[in-house]
């Protein structure tokens, strides 16, 4: 096959379209020196918009523009409109987008387009907690009517996201897309596998806050996690275990605090767990293994500032002159020794605690 000409201006297949150059008015500010290919494609794009043509070649044109500028939101907008007008196979479009999502991982539009496609391809349960990203009601003829097939497709979509995340484990768009997908389609079977899945990511990188956030979203924020005291206990045990492996990790401490706040449990519940992390590592007999309150691992850098902070909060919550005095001592140690960058913050905590006491 011959390769098509680099410019539409030289392509006989486009000879019937009148290109429209970009408007030039007053002297431009921060003008961009376009490449000839971009200028040519956008000239033809403006020409197409004028006639309102929706055709296969428009799909090719918008794709070319997107490859040169994935943030060109009008090209995306018109591409979507054209796909609908042509009744194109959206499954094919989704597969094409697999490539672009990985290539332009950091571009908002790529992920937004994907949401629109998936919304049309799959049926949304009526109990969806999240509003549809599309202002138009879903055309029913595009939807999969077979629920088993729909689940399979959703599972494929989750697998795709997993592949994207292995290329960039903290990509914000990718994670938000997964959270949207789960809450929008809200399929009980999908929620079920999520905790196990995210556990793998946390094991790979215990400081991946996106993964911790996702875990919280699945277990607590979504309303679809396992309910009851056992589930909460399990989450706390999980966090404790991760702290014991690497205590100086703000993600896991934030998670632990989140669980306690969410379930209205007092921080003092964890007092005996936290205490060994607030002091220097001492020699201990290896055969003492406390499953309930795992001790810091041998190589852990102690004392851990986040544990000291937590213990101070335990004392502050407890209240009373003696408890607040203990909290103040801990905050002083953070201010002067273990977390000096936040010295002013710890001094502020001291002032606040003493002020409430009076």
């Amino acid at each position: 096959m011959d390769t098509p000409p680099a410019l539409y201006a030289e392509d006989p297949a486009w000879a019937d379209v009148v290109p429209i150059p970009q408007y030039e008015g007053v002297s431009p500010l921060a003008p961009i020196f376009y490449t000839p290919e971009y200028k040519d494609a956008t000239d033809y794009f403006r020409g197409i918009l004028k006639t309102g043509e929706t055709s296969e070649r428009v799909l090719e044109l918008t794709e070319r523009i997107i490859r040169m500028n994935p943030a060109h939101y009008t090209a995306w907008q018109y591409r979507y409109k054209t796909l609908l007008a042509l009744g194109s196979n959206l499954e094919d479009e989704l597969r094409l987008m697999d490539m672009y999502c990985i290539k332009y991982l950091k571009t908002y539009q790529v992920w937004h387009h994907r949401r629109l496609l998936v919304t049309l391809l799959l049926p949304a349960p009526s109990t969806s907690p999240s509003p549809s990203p599309s202002s138009n009601p879903n055309p029913t003829h595009l939807q999969t009517s077979n629920p088993t097939l729909a689940l399979l497709q959703l599972q494929e979509e989750l697998d795709f996201i997993s592949r994207c995340l292995s290329a960039d484990t903290k990509n914000y768009h990718t994670w938000s897309y997964r959270q949207w997908l789960l809450s929008y389609f809200n399929h009980p079977r999908l929620w079920r596998g999520e905790v196990k899945w995210v556990e793998r990511l946390i094991t790979e990188d215990v400081r991946n806050n996106s993964a911790w956030h996702h875990r919280f979203f699945v277990v607590f924020a979504s309303g679809h996690g396992e309910k009851g005291e056992d589930a909460v206990r399990e989450e706390i045990a999980y966090a404790k275990q991760k702290i014991s492996l690497a205590p100086n990790n703000a993600s896991v401490w934030n998670y632990l605090r989140g669980v306690l706040d969410h379930t209205h449990m007092p921080y003092s519940t964890l007092k005996s767990f936290v205490e060994p992390y607030t002091v220097e590592q001492e020699g201990r007999s290896e055969d003492v293994v406390d499953l309930e309150d795992p001790l810091p691992s041998a190589g852990a850098e102690l004392p851990c500032a986040l544990a000291i902070e937590f213990l101070a909060d335990v004392h502050e919550q407890e209240g009373g002159v003696e408890a607040v005095r203990k909290a103040v001592e801990l905050w002083k140690s953070l201010a002067n020794e273990y977390d000096t960058i936040r010295k002013k913050y710890w001094e502020y905590r001291i002032r606040e605690a003493l002020a409430t006491q009076q």
Partner: protein, 363 residues
Amino acid sequence: MSESPEPLPKLSRNGHALHCIRCLSGLPSSQMEMDASRLALVFYCLGSLDLLGVLESKSSNTDREAWREWVWEQQATGGYGTGFRPSSFMIGAGSNAAEYGEYDAPHLIMTYTALLSLSILRDDFSRLNRAGLLKFLEHCQRSDGSFCSFPNSTESDLRSVYCAFAISSMLDDWSGIDVPLALSFISRCRTYEGGYGQEPYAEAQGGTTYCALAAIHLAVSSPSKSLSTPPLTPAQRRQTIRWLVHNQHASGGFRGRTEKDPDACYCFWCGASLQILDVKALVDTRPLTEFLGKCQFKFGGIAKAPGEHSDPFHTYLSLAALGIYPPEIPEESWRFDTLDPLLNAKEDTARWARDNIPLKPRS
């Protein structure tokens, strides 16, 4: 015990100003992705010159007149009201640029940056279509309270919500938007960490946390809009302050998310958030300044992290952070005028916006 600090490098004020002047005069083809957000880039350049206090010395009256004309050229009116476009990137030669159709509509975020750019350039706003602007805001709001970036678009997140609030505040007219509905959207973006994500269920992030806090406080502080409920409960406020101060990394810079690397832009997003919460005294300015000093690019401009290339976005936000947290040192090159953290502009520029953008009562 604190060690004696190493001397700060000079802030290369002239280099940063020249970086912005260069971008205003033209961008290489590698910047084609800015095509659909050029007005925002213009704002970062003009804003940097404004913060550096060199707008008048680095440009002529004629230059500034031409710049104002270009920004006004982006104002367009159509079926969904009036706003500003990113640039003429979707307008065809020969069309009437003052009107828009289906595919070259104004953009909410660009409209916010246009109003600030024109304030920096001390425009009198006699050409502003205020009624059109209110109508535009109304058309951008969605049923869940969020705002789309342009009418009928399905893109929406906290950035657009902030821009809609900032525009309403500058107009001193909140009739274009449903404030309680928007506030309920904002509260749905709050996470267990105490920050706000870009949309409901998403991870807490510094930039969107700024958008949420600034929007809430703009609504509360507006003289024409008295909200009876406090913006955050005491417990929420404590939690948010904690999350924000914990985002300051040992290197002095702030990060946008827990356990990520620091980035110059979050020195503004997190730093301004702390100022909005009335606790800017909690930030250690010295290491913050040291970090920003290291982010300076040798050929001008400030980069997101040491060793990276500079851009107007990180240049502006770094300088804005210094406007909030000037280092306590005699070194003249680090001096800045104070910043209005809610509108994100130099104080006198923000005042200009508030004095000139609202519809003035007929005298």
